[in-house]
Symmetry: C2
Subunit: 253 residues, 2 copies
């Protein structure tokens, strides 16, 4: 896949000022340095890190909370990995957004690989930066709280789960929509056009944060609605019972 970039860079090299593979080709990305690691190595390390975190969480949950239903266990894995990505990976961008282009540490190179699908990560785009900052430092920590609250059946779990899921989904809708608006209305594409970058990195990878938060959101809304309905029914039944008893005693008298 690196050859796509090489070919594209060679093809575009006659254009003045194009010294990087990101779109739009004419965008200025100061002090850019090409990644030292290949895409294959970077993605392997990233996937390995994710599998380690999910696997570690699974082992811990199975040991400490073996009786939790399978769906709740899966929700914990999700919130731990989601929180870790928000806080560490997206937090890295939020803190280092001015020095992304020449970065050669692991997360810096990973972001440059991802930026092939969205150059806004290399240009301190105001919306992307603000959205990622909220995601990293608000939704990130809250993900860990929710994971913990699932294990303790804390009554705050579902309200917090709704807050985080809405935050993740709304952020993503705005992320897609702003890019698509600039693409169609301002003819500014931030993603390279190859299938891997636009459809896999930009669309599909992010879409995970639409599907899973969507399912969890629906589940929380339904759980709350069901609990409220059952609570009302129970209260009513108890009141009737009490009234019935009261009436009964009156009769007895």
């Amino acid at each position: 896949m690196d050859s796509i970039i090489d070919t594209a860079m060679n093809a575009s090299s006659p254009l003045m000022g194009t010294s990087h593979p990101f779109y739009p080709l004419e965008v200025e990305i100061a002090a850019y340095l090409a990644n030292e690691m290949t895409m294959q190595v970077l993605l392997t390390i990233f996937v390995a890190m994710i599998l380690t975190i999910v696997g570690g969480t699974k082992l811990w949950v199975d040991k400490v909370h073996p009786n939790l239903p399978g769906k709740e266990k899966a929700a914990i894995w999700w919130f731990v990995i989601s929180g870790a990505i928000h806080l560490c990976f997206e937090g890295y961008f939020s803190v280092n957004h001015t020095r992304m282009a020449p970065a050669q540490d692991l997360f810096g190179q990973l972001w440059k690989e991802y930026a092939l699908s969205d150059s806004r990560y290399l240009t301190s785009d105001p919306f992307v930066l603000c959205m990622e900052t909220v995601t990293a430092f608000t939704w990130g920590p809250m993900c860990f709280f929710i994971a913990y609250f699932i294990t303790t059946s804390n009554p705050l779990r579902h309200p917090l789960q709704i807050i985080v899921c809405v935050g993740q989904m709304y952020g993503l809708v705005l992320y897609y929509a702003t890019a698509m608006f600039d693409h169609y209305y301002n003819s500014a594409a931030y993603s390279r056009p190859e299938f891997l970058y636009f459809w896999v990195y930009f669309f599909a990878v992010n879409f995970i944060w639409m599907v899973i938060p969507g399912l969890l959101l629906v589940s929380s809304v339904r759980t709350i609605a069901r609990t409220f309905a059952a609570f009302d029914k129970m209260t009513l039944a108890l009141q009737k019972g009490t009234n019935g008893k009261a009436k009964g005693s009156k009769k007895d008298i």
Copy 2:
């Protein structure tokens, strides 16, 4: 206050291309036409419309649902006026964003008055447009559903209230943050510097959507947490009761 604008425009007229009072002065706003109505007339009409909607809602609630607690009544007024502003006023911007600068209808002139505090409304700013579109056509209608659900004690009321409040607050945080980032980092101020525009229009008016949704969000989270705790307690008590009875009958036998 119009004299501020006149003075500012005269002062800035030597600058090439500055034919409008919006900041940054060099931003291109094609086909701009100055408002035909004065600020005083525009704001009077706008405030009168809001008071009419809130007053009408109050009369209706007092007549049809006189026994609702005062806080619930106030929540209904809020969701009706908030929904109306989202759907009609912000919806107007979403639909007409390409023809805001020369507009002379009521909402067009009101938006041009507001744009003195944020010119992004006259330049189809991608983030502002996308955020306003979601606000108008998602949070807007949901506000009306919540107002209705309050009157029917629908168990979906609090989950939906959390969703809308998070949506409103997150949208506003990003709205403030993107403007402040461009102001401090890119030296691009979208608001005129006068107190009225920056502090009243841009900061204070919008801040209402931080304070009231914030209070409603906390209230919903607490109501849900309390109901879950009470439901668990009740279920436990009933289980104990049943167990007790069962034990009792065993003893009897």
